[in-house]
Symmetry: C2
C-alpha cells in the first residue's frame, strides 16, 4: 500500500515517523528539499518529491498536512488515484469540507481528519512519534462517505499512538472544537492584550500565566481563517464563557463566598474528570 | 545562622532542598512526623519539630510556608527571636501584611515574600530544587522595613535558583498579581464551567485546552481568600480582560479581518517578549 504524506511539518513529519516500520510504502511531498532528504535519510520515506503529481496519482492514501487554503489548492491541482483515500488535518470542517468536496474527483474517497496534536514550533525538526502519543483524533464522516472506508480510517489512525479516535459529523466537530480549541485561543489572545504594561510583566509571572498565554503567540493568517469559517459556533462558545465569567465576577464583587466556592468545586470536579 | 522553615509542602520543602549545602543550619517544622523524618534523612534539615516554639525562638530567619490564615495563626501563637527576620510565601500582600504586622512583635523584621512557583500536586514529595529554577520572586518592602534587611533578603533569595528577584510595595504586588496570577485562575474556572457537556469533552481536547484548564482544579478555600482580599484589583483586571475579549468578539462577528489580525499580532509580539 502506497501512502504519500504532503507537507512534512510537525504534523506531516510526525505521520511519516509514526508510520515507519508499519509495513506501508511511505513517500513524502514537500516544498523543502532538505526536509525531504532528512526524512529519507531517517528511513521515514522511500522517496521525497518537490512535485507530487506522479506519486499522488499512484497513492492509495494521501495525507495532506497543509494549511486549509493550501489543501484546497493542492486538491485542485492534483489528480488522485481512482478509489484511493485522501485525508487532511484541517482544524475546521463544515466550510472546508464543502470546498474540498467540490474540488475533488467523485471517484476518490475524501475522509477529513483532525489530529488534536501539535507543537509550538514549526517544521520537520519538531516532528516526532511522541506528538501523537495520547492525543485525540477525530475522523469526519460526511454523507457521501462509505462506512467501510471510515472504519478503515479509524483503524489506520488507531495504530499511530492516539489515545482516542472518534468519528463525528463536520457540524458536531466544528461545534465542539469551537469550545475546546478556538475559545482557548481567544482567551489567550485577550489575556495577553489586556496587559496595561504598567509593570515589567515577565518578572511577575508564574507557570499559570505562561501556560494560559502560550497560544497567544498565534499564526494570524491561519487562525483568522479558522475563526471566520466557524463564526457562529465560536461566537456561541464565547457567549457561554462570558456568562460564566460574569457569574464569577458577581460573586467576587458581592463577596458571595458560597457561590464562588461552588464554581471552584464545579471546575475542579470537571477538570479531574477530564484526565480520566 | 539558624533558618527554620515552617510547613514542608511543595514550597517549604523546596526551600529546605534549595538551602542544602549552602552553609546554613536549617530546621523544619511540620504537622507531619513522616515528612520531617524524610527531610532529615535527606540531609535537608538538621532536626524536625512538630511543635516549633523552641526552635522558632532561636531562629535568625523563619520562612513560614503555610496558607494565609494559618500564617497569621502561627505568628500569633509564636514568639520570634528579637531582631530576626520572618517571611512568608502568601499570594496577596496588602490585606495580609496589615494583619501580620498587627500580630508580630515590633522587634522582629517582617519581610513578606512571594515565590511565583509551585506544582499542581501538594506535599513534600513534590518539592525539589527545580521548583524554584528560573521562577520569579517578589520581595515585599513595607514602610517599616529596614533597607539593609530588604537587601539581605534579596541576596538570600538570589542563591536559590530564581531567575528574577524584584522588590516592590504590597500595593504594586497585589495589582500586578491580580493580572498575572488571579485573572488566569478566573479564566480557567470560567472556561471549564462554560462546557455545556453536549459532547464527551475529554475526547476532543488538545494541549491548548489542557494547559488553559489545568488551574481550574483549584483549592477553593485558598483562592476564595486570595480573591476576596484583592477584590478591587482583581475586578479591574477582569474588566480590562472583558474589554479585549469584546473587541475580539466584535471583529469575529463583523468579519473584520484587519482588526482581528492586528490583535493576533499584538498578542504574539507580547508573548514573545515575555520569554526574553
Amino acid at each position: 500500500m502506497i501512502i504519500t504524506v504532503v507537507g512534512l511539518g510537525v504534523i506531516g513529519g510526525s505521520f511519516v515517523k509514526a508510520l515507519k516500520g508499519k509495513g506501508y510504502d511511505v513517500y513524502g511531498v514537500d516544498c523543502d528539499q532538505q526536509t525531504l532528504e532528512m526524512a529519507k535519510a531517517e528511513g521515514c520515506i522511500i522517496e521525497g518529491y518537490l512535485d507530487g503529481h506522479q506519486i499522488i496519482s499512484q497513492s492509495d492514501l494521501t495525507i495532506i498536512c497543509l494549511y486549509p487554503s493550501k489543501v484546497l489548492d493542492f486538491i485542485s491541482e492534483h489528480t488522485f488515484k481512482k478509489g484511493s483515500i485522501v485525508t487532511d488535518v484541517v482544524g475546521i470542517k463544515s466550510y472546508f469540507l464543502n470546498q474540498a468536496l467540490s474540488r475533488i474527483d467523485q471517484d476518490v474517497e475524501y475522509i477529513s481528519g483532525h489530529p488534536m496534536a501539535g507543537r509550538e514550533k514549526k517544521g520537520y525538526l519538531y516532528a516526532s512519534q511522541e506528538v501523537f502519543q495520547n492525543a485525540n483524533y477525530i475522523v469526519i464522516q460526511h454523507e457521501h462517505n462509505q462506512i467501510d472506508k471510515i472504519e478503515w480510517m479509524r483503524q489506520f489512525v488507531g495504530q499511530l499512538g492516539f489515545k482516542s479516535v472518534k468519528i463525528m459529523s463536520p457540524y458536531d466537530h466544528d461545534e465542539i472544537i469551537s469550545y475546546t480549541s478556538q475559545l482557548p485561543h481567544t482567551l489567550a489572545v485577550a489575556l495577553m492584550n489586556s496587559d496595561d504594561e504598567k509593570y515589567e510583566t515577565g518578572k511577575y509571572i508564574g507557570d499559570s500565566f505562561r501556560d494560559l498565554t502560550r497560544i497567544a503567540n498565534i499564526n494570524a493568517d491561519l487562525w483568522a481563517e479558522l475563526f471566520f469559517h466557524n463564526r457562529d459556533y465560536l461566537l456561541a462558545s464565547m457567549e457561554r464563557f462570558e456568562k460564566q465569567f460574569d457569574l464569577l465576577k458577581q460573586a467576587i464583587a458581592s463577596g458571595d463566598e458560597k457561590s464562588l466556592k461552588e464554581m471552584f468545586w464545579q471546575s475542579s470536579k470537571r477538570r479531574e474528570k477530564l484526565e480520566k
